[in-house]
């Protein structure tokens, strides 16, 4: 199973003891989120809603690609990938 890094944006670090990067072993983005649900439940609630969907105004990237343009949460991960969670450019 590939080992990847999940990069946490500043506003969410208080929900994972201040850490900017979390190492995760997962085959897909969805599996990586499931790992976070178990290991960092407070962080997970900020990223996914009660239905398990990634919140509407958040984007998840694998390296430089938005998973929305790949295979969503089913996007496969490879050894050394960086999964980045970022707030979308929205609001006013």
């Amino acid at each position: 199973m590939p080992s990847v890094i999940v990069f946490i944006p500043g506003p969410l670090r208080p929900y994972c003891a201040g850490r900017a990067e979390l190492p995760v072993d997962a085959d897909t983005v969805g599996e990586a989120l499931e790992v976070l649900e178990q290991s960092q439940p407070a962080l997970y609630r900020n990223v996914c809603d009660e239905t398990g969907a990634v919140r509407r105004h958040l984007n998840v990237f694998v390296n430089t690609d938005n998973v929305r343009d790949l295979d969503g949460v089913r996007t496969a991960l490879r050894q050394g990938d960086v999964v980045t969670i970022l707030p979308a450019v929205s609001g006013g």
């Binding site: 506003p11 900020n46 809603d49 009660e50 969907a53 919140r55 979308a88």
Partner: protein
């Protein structure tokens, strides 16, 4: 004796707290708290030795939070959790529209979007869904109004619980929230061919007075007097009164310039005195650009315009459903916040108005308490 007047001002960019002596001459403003996130519900819980201030925090990026302050709004921290639907429910929390004190110590009630009721028994650190209304057989048929499908009104009256939903209507529980019945007799709807459906009305706000058991006032979605399609005209369906715990309602809109509006507020010492803010139904703005609060001193039989000190022209703001409150000092003051970020005080029961703050972010909600 309570010495301070505390206002919680929920805005589109966080919550502010304003504090004054009982004279209410000057209010000191603190905030914003909550990282610039919209706040649609607040609560000043005065039941304990130390007042607790609560604010919802509708974060569009990271979801819903509940903020709590135990130092009268000098600092706020997140509670340990926020209301959330069970994982297999299929609904996801979009906003919090109401926070109210529950029947028991540390108990809180929360009205949510999509329309659902949550209860906390530990001051907001954990929450449970109240299924009697949240999973009511009508729940999946309720529809969102322009503001979303929101449960905005929670009124406790002993074992009775009144709930207001837009658009769902008024629901009454007489068994402490176990079961609920749609109680909308006489509550009109303009957006359905049936003018008086069993449920589905766009109720905007409901208010009551403890000294008048059974009496309720409702600001409903009016503005349908000229409708000429199926079901016919529906004049006066916007401002209503019930004298039987909300089972049946009758119009008290006669004499108002418009039966459309959002807030409705009852005087703290006289259940016959009630206040509304009539708005043009098409624009949701002050009629003619001249804002006014209207007061009835006889339970809705007649109305008086209160506008001394308010702009006489060129003011087209909206006062939203939780945007007006009244304190309970002997000569009470009204307060309303506007979508243009002004916070007004109406001294002597609304006889004389003054702008306390004129450049806050848009204000969905205002609460006041003596502490």
């Amino acid at each position: 004796m309570a010495e301070r007047v505390v206002l919680m001002i929920g805005t589109r960019k966080g919550v502010f707290v304003a504090e004054s002596a009982r004279t209410r001459r000057r209010f000191a403003l603190r905030g914003p708290f909550g990282d610039g996130v919209p706040v649609y519900a607040t609560l000043v819980d005065t039941r304990g030795a130390t007042p607790r201030l609560y604010a919802s925090n509708c974060n569009p990026f990271f979801g819903m939070k509940v903020l709590r302050s135990t130092d009268l709004g000098k600092t706020f921290t997140e509670t340990k959790s926020a209301p959330a639907f069970p994982g297999d429910d299929g609904r996801a929390l979009a906003n919090i529209w109401a926070l109210e004190a529950g029947a028991r110590k540390r108990e809180l009630l929360c009205g949510a979007e999509p329309a659902a009721l949550f209860r906390s028994r530990d001051g907001g650190d954990s929450w449970e869904l109240v299924p009697g209304i949240s999973n009511h057989e009508h729940a999946r048929q309720w529809q969102p109004g322009a503001g979303g499908l929101c449960m905005h009104t929670i009124i406790r009256d002993g074992r009775r619980l009144h709930i207001g939903i837009s658009t769902g209507g008024h629901y009454l529980s007489e068994d402490d929230g176990e079961t609920f019945t749609a109680s909308n007799g006489g509550v009109g709807a303009g957006f359905t061919p049936d003018p008086y459906p069993v449920f589905g009305q766009c109720v905007h706000k409901i208010a009551r007075h403890e000294a008048a058991p059974g009496r309720l006032y409702m600001q409903n979605h009016g503005g349908w007097a000229e409708w000429d399609g199926p079901g016919g005209r529906r004049p006066g369906i916007g401002v209503l009164r019930s004298d039987d715990y909300g089972r049946t309602w009758r119009s008290i809109a006669s004499g108002l310039p418009s039966d459309f509006g959002f807030p409705i507020v009852v005087h703290p010492h006289d259940p016959d005195i009630v206040y509304v803010v009539p708005l043009e139904p098409q624009t949701r703005a002050c009629p003619g650009g001249a804002p006014a609060v209207w007061r009835s001193e006889n339970g809705g039989a007649s109305w008086t315009r209160l506008s001394r000190g308010l702009p006489k022209k060129e003011s087209f703001f909206t006062v939203q459903r939780d945007g007006m409150v009244i304190d309970d000092l002997r000569s009470p003051a009204l307060y309303f916040g506007t979508t243009t970020g002004q916070l007004w005080i109406g001294r002597d029961g609304g006889e004389q108005w003054e702008c306390l703050f004129d450049s806050l972010p848009p204000i969905p909600t205002v609460r006041v308490a003596l502490v």
